[in-house]
């Protein structure tokens, strides 16, 4: 390992705090890094999946950083900054770039926080439009659903409130039925939950549940209900039933960051919130399945809402995380 590095060679550690497969933010981070490195001879990427046990992340990251092989560590997750800070104390030369997290003032670290409140807000708005509509599977109840794998601060403080706030912009009587699966893979339980929620009057779901989301897709196709999806284009998971897909431009962000890193233009110590306006979250309007699964009036109304949100004519306060 001691072989001298060529001067311009550059190595990136992509530290996945979990498992990439099935998680859109992680998958796109890996994809972004790989794509960035693809056509560059001198850039090498090592992807490390640290598994679900958060208690062991720090030790693993320490081992990795200790090799001294990596010019920069790239990761994503709100809890990473504190881990990186501790690891960084032992290795003062190590740089970290973390997305989906917010931490200012440590000059080994650069963070970007996606505005998940905002994404949830417009997905919630769309859900509100659907539940109040007279679409085929929409009922007269003003009830929207949210199925999550687990509760965590970002979910509780940004995503859920955003989703409900968005829906209530359509009709302030809308209620949210929120349920938890308990893990990231029990698709059958997700399906049972969705089924129970549909029986309870829910006609549109948001779901953040990793692989278990499959269960929700299956149930909505069977029992008739709709889904809006965060972060990723999932129209084809249940065509006609997935009526909206948000986007999180993790890949784009990662590639931009990496090129900043290579160019040496990263402003370490800084933290940025990136949202609709900056173009790092958005919505998959262009998919034909989107067009075919929603009636024109809803799409129009939603598009205008998005426009207003983007240009700031709809204001909101970002809750504390």
């Amino acid at each position: 390992k001691e072989e001298a590095k060529a001067d311009d060679s550059f190595s990136v550690l992509v530290f996945v705090p979990g498992v990439a497969a099935g998680s859109p933010p992680y998958e796109t981070m890996v994809a972004g890094a790989n794509e960035f490195a693809q056509d560059k001879e001198n850039v090498s990427v090592k992807v490390y999946e640290a598994g679900f046990n958060q208690a062991q992340w720090e030790q693993q990251l320490t081992s990795l950083v200790a090799t001294g092989e990596y010019d920069v560590v790239l990761s994503t997750n709100p809890s990473l900054p504190e881990i990186c800070e501790r690891v960084g104390e032992k290795f003062p030369d190590q740089k970290f770039i973390i997305t989906d997290a917010y931490a200012e003032g440590n000059d080994q670290m650069r963070t970007y926080l996606y505005n998940q409140y905002e994404q949830s807000l417009y997905l919630g708005y769309l859900a509100g439009l659907v539940t109040a509509s007279d679409m085929e599977f929409a009922n007269e109840n003003l009830k929207i659903g949210f199925i999550a794998s687990q509760e965590y601060p970002l979910l509780n403080n940004h995503i859920l409130p955003g989703f409900l706030d968005g829906a209530r912009l359509v009709n302030k009587d809308i209620e949210l039925d929120f349920r938890v699966i308990g893990n990231w893979f029990d698709a059958n339980k997700a399906s049972d939950l969705a089924s129970s929620m549909i029986d309870g009057g829910v006609d549109i779901f948001a779901v953040i549940a990793g692989g278990a989301a499959q269960g929700v897709f299956k149930t909505v196709t069977q029992k008739g209900a709709y889904v809006v999806f965060h972060d990723k284009n999932e129209y084809s998971a249940a065509p006609g039933y997935v009526v909206g897909s948000g986007s999180m431009e993790q890949k784009k962000l990662v590639m931009e960051i990496l090129s900043d890193v290579v160019n040496g233009t990263v402003e370490y110590g800084k933290a940025t919130v990136v949202g609709l306006e900056e173009g790092y979250i958005g919505f998959h309007f262009e998919d034909p399945l989107y067009v075919s699964s929603l009636p024109q009036d809803i799409r129009d109304e939603f598009a205008s809402f998005m426009e207003r949100l983007r240009n700031g004519s709809i204001s909101y306060t970002l809750p504390v995380l």
């Binding site: 090592k46 490390y48 999946e49 598994g51 679900f52 046990n53 958060q54 208690a55 062991q56 030790q59 693993q60 320490t62 081992s63 990795l64 200790a66 090799t67 709100p78 809890s79 900054p81 504190e82 881990i83 032992k90 997290a101 509760e151 965590y152 601060p153 308990g182 995380l321």
Partner: protein, 351 residues
């Protein structure tokens, strides 16, 4: 003639008993090599790190030993429980619960300093002991199956501890799901910096002697083994049935709590959500591999930690992911407890 015709020579016996172990390692190696060539683009690197990884740096080496510590302690408790016929499979919950109790107590007792830590461990051991003891009481009172009650209680407790960690006792200063850190005075000191190996190792080694003495050098241990071998006989011999249905459960629960609290005090310094996931089962596996013999628990736990850290090294320094390590671990597991293989070299000789 009806007499012993050959004396047993301990050295030859030991050499012969190695044969099986070598065979097991060999088969696992074949599996490792096979899967490495299938899964890895740098199989030579993968294999190298799988075997040598834990010894390449003090950091990795220390962490490997440190990983063995809770396995030894938990494994000792389970050895005692299983040896007496108490099938406690609720270790996951008992360990996790114990760790949380220890953390909360030591934080509450911060002004007491070190004494607070000792009290906290004691309280944790009592709590998890009682948690496990419930299964023992149910068995004694109504003959309820311990295997199942301990499992169910543990599953429920894990969820409740999760709630406590993420809810009322969550540390608002961190984005990890974790309680507040324990006071620094309560932290155990490191033995082999920069690794996490800490003084809990001493406790583990001491525990081996204590549990060994308890099981093989005391009347309680004698009765306990008697009850485990044949409860009917033990009853006939006047052994106190209630005691040996409840005490081993209590002790194994308490030992799990000790393992959990020491992990917190020595390594994690706060109860982090899911920090213990798998430890309960692994300690159980260690006890089974050691065939419930306290001194064998140490090598079994080290072996376990070695495989685990070898796999981790391969993941860190090569391109494999944890699927490979779970397959290789599975191969080792399949074979490691085989009596036939262990006695391969001791095969009966024809006279």
């Amino acid at each position: 003639m009806n007499k012993k015709i050959e004396c047993y020579n301990p050295v030859i016996y030991m050499l012969r008993s190695m044969v099986g172990l070598i065979f097991i390692v060999f088969v696992s190696l074949v599996a490792l090599v096979g899967f490495s060539y299938y899964l890895s683009e740098t199989p030579d690197k993968t294999i190298y790190y799988f075997f040598n990884g834990p010894f390449l740096s003090l950091y990795d080496f220390g962490n490997m030993i440190n990983m063995a510590v809770p396995l030894i302690i938990g494994g000792l408790g389970i050895s005692l429980a299983f040896r007496s016929g108490s099938m406690n499979i609720g270790g996951e919950g008992q360990l996790y619960f114990g760790a949380l109790i220890a953390t909360l107590t030591v934080i509450a007792l911060e002004p007491l300093g070190r004494a607070g830590a000792v009290i906290a461990i004691f309280v944790a051991m009592m709590s998890s002991g009682i948690l496990a003891g419930i299964s023992g009481v149910l068995r004694y009172r109504w003959n309820t199956n311990v295997l199942i009650t301990s499992f169910l209680i543990s599953n429920a407790v894990v969820l409740i501890v999760n709630y406590l960690i993420t809810g009322p006792f969550d540390d608002p200063l961190t984005n990890l799901f974790s309680t507040q850190p324990i006071p620094e005075t309560a932290e155990l000191s490191y033995i082999l910096p920069p690794s996490n190996l800490n003084t809990s190792l001493i406790v583990a080694v001491a525990a081996v002697f204590i549990i060994h003495a308890l099981m093989y050098r005391s009347r309680t241990g004698f009765e306990l083994r008697m009850y485990g071998d044949n409860p009917r006989f033990a009853k006939y011999a006047g052994v106190n049935v209630m005691y040996y249905q409840i005490m081993p459960m209590f002790v194994s629960g308490a030992m799990y709590a000790l393992a959990g609290s020491l992990s917190i005090f020595g390594t994690y310094h706060a109860t982090i959500k899911d920090f213990s996931s798998g430890m309960g089962w692994n300690a159980l596996a260690v006890a089974l591999i050691a065939r419930y013999r306290p001194f064998a628990v140490i090598p079994a736990a080290l072996f376990f930690a070695y495989i685990e850290s070898g796999a981790r090294s391969a993941m860190l320094y090569s391109d494999v992911t944890f699927e490979l390590s779970s397959i290789v671990q599975a191969t080792v597991f399949f074979l490691v407890s085989s009596v036939t293989l262990q006695r391969l070299g001791l095969k009966k000789r024809r006279i």
